[in-house]
Amino acid sequence: MSATRPEAVLATGLRKSFGTEVVLDGIDLAVPAGSVFALLGPNGAGKTTTVHILTTLLAADGGTVRIAGHDLATDPDAARRAIGVTGQFSAVDNLLTGEENLRLMADLLHLDRADGRRRTAALLEQFDLVDAAAKAPSAYSGGMRRKLDLAMTLMGDPAVIFLDEPTTGLDPRTRRMMWDVVRDLAAGGVTIFLTTQYLDEADELADRIAVLDRGRIVAEGTSAELKRMIPGGHIEVRFTGRAAFDTAARTFSRARRDDDTLTLQIPADGGVRSLRAVLDGLDAAHVEADELTVHRPDLDDVFLSLTGRPRPAAEAQQKELVR
């Protein structure tokens, strides 16, 4: 290993417009080889467009990109040989079986027959798809399709893998499995570039996170660095009666009170200990809460603090309701 790690993804001044709509307004990205990088942003921020440009699907209007050292403008095929892509929309052939899909990849990668067969068997095994190998993906669940999709991406042992919202729409179990796969790949030295709208996903997986908003990078750093920019989490308690509300407000003097909705926002780190402290406090004051919500810092908070306005589509709320 040399002292200076080459950048697996290096983009400077990327611009892209569709008609009059500016989607990317000059973004710079640098992802060191062997690291996991997350591009975090809401729907419509330009994440998918970025991935499309970096994976040669779309030409940028301006800027330069080097993937694994290859300039996309002059040698796109060399870059294509270094990458694997799993997009947001499944890229499997629905009329071929799972196994045939993998063999198709092996053939297109010009692996010899024995090699292709061996890799196919290994990937089916790795992704727990052996039983489904002879079935068409149309009979698969969403999670299985995503797994097959990722297995196809891995057929060529790519050095750089792009994952566009790899866990959107997946059940929690498959989501965990995806995370494990990403960690295994990263441990094996593969560079991962992923996009996500979930802060916790970026937090779990990425070495560095860049926040994309309206076509610009508004913040970049490690997970810890980003979180320092974000106000902490809180526990929100709602009351039915004014008297209980007032009593509780006196008990939790640090809480932010909203007199219209009779709710208190009590600063807390979201852990069990802080939750117990709040419940004990309520008990001690002999007040009954109507509803209690644990609120951890999420993308909405990142957005509010970085851009000074709420996230455009706040559909990714991560609240656990305790009634």
């Binding site: 569709f18 729907n43 419509g44 998918t48 499309h52 994976t55 040669t56 699907l57 779309l58 095929d77 060399a78 294509r80 040989r81 270094a82 990458i83 892509v85 997009g87 947001q88 929309f89 499944s90 890229a91 499997v92 052939d93 629905n94 009329l95 071929l96 045939e100 198709l104 053939d107 297109l108 990668l109 010009h110 692996l111 090699d115 890799r119 068409a136 196809m152 060529g156 042992d157 790519p158 050095a159």
Partner: protein
């Protein structure tokens, strides 16, 4: 283990062809439907209209009359209609590919840029010839009596292959251009109608002036006439043959160029 070989056009096209043939076998209802249509038209024209239409024909080489004469007359037009019908399938499968994510995946891989399209084209050509074989068999069963020798049959296969390639490349472009699979199944429909407005079903002399002018100058007429000469004629195709060849080459070339351009540009649907 990563394959470092450069894109191999032949190998990639073969892989894509294998994929397309497999897809056709998995989804045979489309093929059956597309081959069934010309068979129905053949039976309809021979048995329902054939008796009357045959009596109106100027006279046939084999001395046939009535329905038998008409069966001989209509088969070249029906064969071209078989080709036109089969390429609807090309447009549909191209559009299906483009709406699914798989082509986006191919485009991020180092594979020959034309292999995806070439695989479709060769697959469709195979499908066209399967259709032609079925329709020819039915035609022979209902009284088609070709007089062609070996050279005549080779010529017929040649002109059908060329017309097939021309219509397939055109359908590829229409399939790429279509925004949805439904559109793709509708836009090449005019290809099925065109044989009716040619010399395929009745001689052009019997048509009113405007229609007759259109029928004589549209590409299906020289192709059908050339095919008729190869199958049941006596004289060589001559100038009409060259005209048919010219049309096929021009349409195939234009379809190919258009398709390539659309494929290079067409990428992902923009999902916002």
């Amino acid at each position: 283990m990563t394959a470092l070989a450069p894109a191999l056009p032949l190998r990639d096209s073969r892989t894509m062809l294998r994929r397309n043939v497999r897809r056709m076998l998995r989804y045979p209802s489309l093929t059956v439907l597309l081959v069934g249509m010309p068979v129905v038209f053949l039976l309809l024209f021979v048995y329902v209209f054939g008796g009357t239409l045959g009596s109106g024909l100027p006279g046939s080489a084999a001395g046939l009359t009535g329905r038998a004469a008409y069966a001989n007359y209509v088969v070249p037009g029906i064969l071209l209609m078989t080709v036109a019908g089969a390429v609807q399938g090309t447009a549909i499968s191209i559009a299906m590919d483009m709406t699914e994510g798989i082509v986006a995946r191919f485009r991020t891989m180092s594979i020959s840029r034309t292999a995806v399209l070439t695989g479709h084209v060769i697959g469709s050509l195979l499908q066209v010839f399967v259709g032609l074989a079925v329709v020819t068999a039915v035609a022979l069963a209902v009284g088609f009596r070709p007089t062609a020798g070996v050279l005549g049959w080779l010529g017929a296969i040649g002109i059908l292959a060329l017309a097939g390639l021309a219509m397939i490349w055109l359908a590829v472009a229409l399939g790429l251009k279509a925004k949805s699979v439904e559109t793709a199944s509708n836009t090449p429909m005019f290809l099925i109608l065109l044989p009716f407005l040619s010399s395929g079903f009745v001689p052009t002399d019997s048509m009113p002036t405007v229609l007759r002018w259109f029928a004589e100058y549209q590409p299906f007429t020289p192709v059908i006439e050339t095919l008729r000469t190869f199958l049941t004629g006596t004289a060589p195709a001559g100038a009409t043959g060259w005209l048919a060849l010219g049309w096929c080459v021009v349409i195939a070339g234009a379809g190919f160029a258009w398709s390539r351009r659309l494929y290079e540009r067409a990428s992902i649907r923009h999902h916002g």
